[in-house]
Symmetry: C2
Subunit: 457 residues, 2 copies
């Protein structure tokens, strides 16, 4: 049972804690923008750790946006917990679809609405609430705590691997908590034990040296937009399978045990579809269930295409260039380096005459499969029971949290993915939100984890 | 021989005439923008016709941008020439590629640089120069002259057909001149006797009701961008042939005589390609020469695609919608209405599950094939000899000038396409230009046509 003084402090100080979270949510730190806002968010966190939580904290620069490191070491004998979160957020576009400003946090119907309300400021803040209550009401933290808040997660963590490698000592711990995932459903508390990896590329096709008139040149000059559409189309066959040679080479089959356990989850394909205004789920490969396609099969999705004339009205132009942003979600044991080589090979074969292809690789992140029977996992399961009233389901997630694989590979720790979000929190979309109940439950679960892990180590 | 007083007036008043043309070029009348600039350009022309050329002139409203009508009737016995031009211009984007402002006309190396310098303000102004000199130095016009300046040519003339039908009496004439085409090459004066038609559509695909995270949903949700690429790709086969059923049903074969006459034209495929920075011409259908593909074969080109995240950096989103602008150039005797029906049918078959397709038809213009042995054509051939020192070649053009077909069908006149542009004038592109020699030669040719046509009728 969680220390009652800590629990009461958590329950009695919600307004004050929420006020601080809103300060953080109002800072528009978007990693792809060099407008100083990431620096501001990082500084806010470092200040908060030092001034309100009694941590030693500092901003640690990278070649891109800065990270925040902090620690509160109780004693060399106590186990150490590393808490990871990211303070950067997705761009808020399209702005006109937000009911309230993305950086003007608002509460409606029990939800906090803001860009980053869930992903990931709200989730990381649940841990800061737990720390605060231990410090104020529990006689101090029951474990040593280190925190690591990243500033470039939403652009694929381009500087994370060298950073973790260079700061392995600062980050060393006995367990790591990563809260950047979600419940399987409302009232189905969940811990995620596998994540997909990611390769994100930008493909530019170049044709004529300038935009030309489609009447004067059409029929003689190869059109970069037509060619781009053709190349993208050639990346899938009619059954939805990715046609890049070797793409599926390293995909692991699922065990029957895993498939059986997923059968027990309350997944309703029709409800999932209709929440998106769809009659049926039509993505991915034929012959696999929706959960398999989401969790255990790789994908290839265009995330953006632009080229030619895109303003209102007609313009009869053959553009000089066309650009596509394309990402692939990878599953164990696919290797991003191998996939990039296969794409390069694919493009060299499929770029048509009269066209030049330029490939820029923006993100490479490996897929992750975590242990489900570690001491940290046991502590987490019991902590969920306290925070949310029941033991968690064990699930996979189709998204990527690159730090998880790095913690495993470079620090030698299996992270525990204690996610507090709900599936309909609209991550990366307009009107992103985070339920107050999830925030408060998450803070209790975090506090309980610290107590449980102190006892179990 | 052109009246020498008229010729001398044309040659002696170039600076004053150019000054007026520059006034017109500096008005940014873009038909798709409702910013009053088209109104300004139309007013400028009406004022110029009345105040400087002694015409009766008026602005004639349409449901879109206004047209300008003017006339100077010398006598009921004289033949009447209708001169068509359009004052609206293409949008100037991308602005950063212009060496001088698109609406700040500048002269460099014998060329006028401005949006519309050639297409079509410069070309229509050649006729106004001829009129001015006949009025000032030739004792008045040798023929009755009517002018019709359109304001929506660059958006596909959506209101032109009802306008011409409703104003058939105002526009009635014995011959029509349309100057919105080009020489085959510098020093190869040319009259165009065939134009391609145009169908321009906007295709929107709608998938999930909101943008979603490509990790959390990728594999289960059909992606509108992937689907759009697939549909566009399916519109051509591997040989570059358009696969829309019935697309080629009404395409006329060329006569051997036409093919032979094109052989004599100074066309260098390598030079054409290298002017665009290309090693080879790779557009269109296999098995046809470049001139056939440009002039006598229909095409299907994407003119714009936009969807998803297109700003710098990665964003892992599956967008809710994707949009393509697609145009088809038609050749005699393809019918735009028939083609639109075939596309609708094609889309109903090829729109994948989980996706809704919306088709908006923005332009329908028929292809044109004109008589090459009319009295007006004879007058024009002799006029070219005066303006440019040699008889013109007879050529086709791959672009569309919708008014030509309407003049033929609704007014019962075959227009003569006296084009004064050069092929490398960069129509619709940054740094559009018009050679001063072409402007001055065109003005002489126009003046000579009036004299020739007065004598021949």
């Amino acid at each position: 049972m969680l220390d009652q003084a800590v629990l009461q402090h958590l329950q009695g100080n919600r307004d004050r804690q929420l006020e601080k979270l809103f300060e953080l949510l109002s800072i528009a730190g978007i990693a792809s923008r060099n407008d100083g806002q990431c620096q501001r968010a990082a500084q806010w966190l470092a200040d908060y750790l030092q001034q309100e939580l009694g941590f030693q904290a500092r901003i640690a620069e990278t070649q891109g946006q800065p990270n925040v490191l902090g620690e509160c070491i109780k004693s060399d004998d106590a186990p150490t917990v590393l808490i990871y979160g990211h303070y950067d957020v997705q761009p808020p576009d399209p702005l006109e679809l937000w009911d309230t400003g993305p950086f003007e946090p608002a509460i409606r119907n029990g939800y906090i609405y803001a860009r980053g309300a869930n992903d990931d400021k709200g989730q990381l803040f649940a841990h800061l609430m737990a720390i605060k209550s231990w410090q104020q009401a529990g006689g101090g933290l029951p474990v040593n705590v280190k925190v690591f808040f990243e500033g470039e997660e939403e652009i694929g963590s381009p500087n994370l691997e060298p950073f973790v490698a260079a700061h392995a000592k600062d980050l060393s711990a006995d367990a790591a908590l990563v809260s950047d995932s979600a419940f399987f459903a409302k009232d189905v508390p969940s811990i995620t034990y596998a994540l997909r990896g990611l390769v994100y590329i930008e493909l530019t096709l170049r044709g004529p040296s300038r935009d030309v008139h489609s009447g004067q040149y059409g029929g003689a000059v190869a059109n970069p937009l037509n060619a781009l559409a053709r190349i993208i189309s050639q990346m899938h066959d009619d059954s939805g399978r990715v046609t890049i040679p070797g793409f599926y080479d390293d995909v692991n089959d699922l065990t029957q045990q895993e498939l059986d356990s997923w059968q027990k989850l309350p997944f309703n394909e029709n409800a999932f579809a209709s929440e998106l205004g769809l009659h049926a789920l039509a993505g991915g490969e034929d012959g696999y269930s929706a959960l398999e396609r989401l969790w255990a099969r790789p994908t290839l999705d265009c995330n953006g295409i632009i080229g030619g004339y895109t303003a209102p009205g007609p313009k009869t132009v053959i553009p000089s260039t066309a650009l596509a942003k394309i990402s692939m979600r990878l599953v164990p044991s696919q290797n991003p380096e191998h996939i990039v080589r296969q794409i390069e090979e694919f493009l060299s074969r499929h770029t048509p005459s009269g066209m030049q292809a330029e490939l820029s690789v923006m993100t490479k992140a490996r897929p992750v499969l975590l242990q489900t029977d570690s001491p940290a996992m046991s502590a987490a399961k019991a902590a969920y029971a306290e925070g949310f009233g029941q033991e968690p389901a064990l699930i996979r997630c189709g998204a990527s949290v690159p730090v998880t694989e790095l913690i495993q590979r470079l620090l030698g720790i299996d992270a525990v993915l204690m996610g507090f979000g709900l599936p309909d929190d609209r991550l990366h979309s307009p009107n992103e939100r985070f339920a107050l109940d999830q925030l408060y439950g998450g803070a209790i679960a975090s506090a309980a984890f610290m107590q449980n892990f102190a006892g179990r180590q």
